[in-house]
Amino acid sequence: MKFLSSIIITIIVSISISVFPQEIKKEETGFTTWYEIYYEAEEYIKIGRWQDAIDNLHLVLVKQQKDRRNARTYGMNFIKEFTPNRNLGICYYHISDFEFARKYLEIHLRQFLTDSGKEYLEKVNIELEKEVKANEHFEKGRSYYEKREYVLSIKEMEEVLKIRPDYNVAKKYIEKAKSIMEIKNKIKIKK
């Protein structure tokens, strides 16, 4: 009987240790765990703090690389949909870093197919196509500028800005072309 009870006690103790290992570590160190960093990242995403979410998710990826369903955190606790790669893709999409966004969304979709992952990858691909178009317009605009066709150059650069309003080089070309046109027009009247 004594033997049996000691076995039961040993089993209970070992189970409780295996079930709550991270909690014990947290209590000992007062430190955050990977899943807490993950939860924090999700909170950052909710309020649009994309860069902070990215930083956290990269930390999570050091410990847990795979997107999956029911990722165990501690004891019998699970994260229903654990998707650090998808979330990284979403964050990079929001800060307009579409190449990185595509990279992580593709990793996500290889590991764990979700509708939102697919939806975001489509969005990213559209943005990347737009970027190609913006670059095409920019090259045309620059070529017109070199040929001194300023009106056409401005038109092309404005197309660039319609697609990518943050394209500062295009803005500079418009400014330069407008200044030259102003001088040119005044001189033209004299001729």
Partner: protein, 217 residues
């Protein structure tokens, strides 16, 4: 006879009337041409004004360019000089003579910028410190945002930094867990040098520092 005389008289009158009419028309014509000439003079004086304004604008842009060139802001100086160069090409020989040196200044400024960019890129390539590499690459891209080589290097370095920061973070966590607060703080500070805005590390560093303060009291 009387009829003949009457016809002659009518003819004479019509001839006189014709001359009178012609004269009147001619006067009108002359008046019109004088008015037109006057208008022309007004218009051309306006044109001259515009031309002067254009010339002034070129001069002003050129001076701005020179000011920027002398203060070492070659990038902006080139922008100004390019406007002047294109402007004088439209203006003709007079302004070309006066501001012809602008092309030399563009060449000089481009050379200086090229040297600066090469300097930053060399430093970035030679350095082993990731934060220094980023700083040099950003300086090069600040001069020319279209530098493909620098852009690619920057992306690669940023990825390396992310990797390094994560490593340092968990290294710091291990030290912290082992109650080696000094070491943890040192490691996290190193991580923050690479990524100064890392919220998680900032938070943990603050926690470690306050814990250390409490222990030292």
């Amino acid at each position: 006879m009387i009829q003949f005389l009457l016809l002659k008289f009518i003819n004479l009158i019509s001839i006189v009337l014709f001359f009178i009419n012609f004269n009147l028309f001619n006067t009108e014509f002359r008046v019109a041409s004088v008015v037109a000439q006057h208008d022309k003079k007004v218009v051309s004086s306006e044109k001259i004004d515009e031309y002067i304004t254009a010339e002034e604008e070129i001069k002003e842009t050129y001076n701005k360019g020179m000011e920027l060139f002398n203060s070492g802001n070659y990038k902006k100086a080139i922008e100004m000089f390019e406007i002047v160069a294109r402007g004088i090409e439209e203006a003709g020989p007079d302004l070309k003579k006066e501001y012809g040196s602008v092309k030399d200044y563009i060449a000089k400024a481009e050379e200086k910028l090229g040297n600066l960019i090469a300097n930053h890129l060399n430093k970035a390539k030679q350095s082993k410190k990731l934060s220094e590499i980023i700083r040099e690459l950003k300086s090069a891209l600040n001069i020319d945002p279209e530098l493909t080589e620098a852009k690619k290097l920057l992306k690669d370095t940023e990825a390396k930094i992310t990797e390094e920061v994560s490593k340092l973070y968990f290294k710091g966590v291990d030290q912290y867990a082992a109650d080696k607060l000094y070491e943890a703080i040192k490691i996290w500070k190193e991580a923050l040098e690479l990524k100064p805005d890392h919220a998680r590390i900032k938070k943990d560093l603050a926690r470690a520092e306050s814990k250390l303060q409490l222990l030292n009291k």
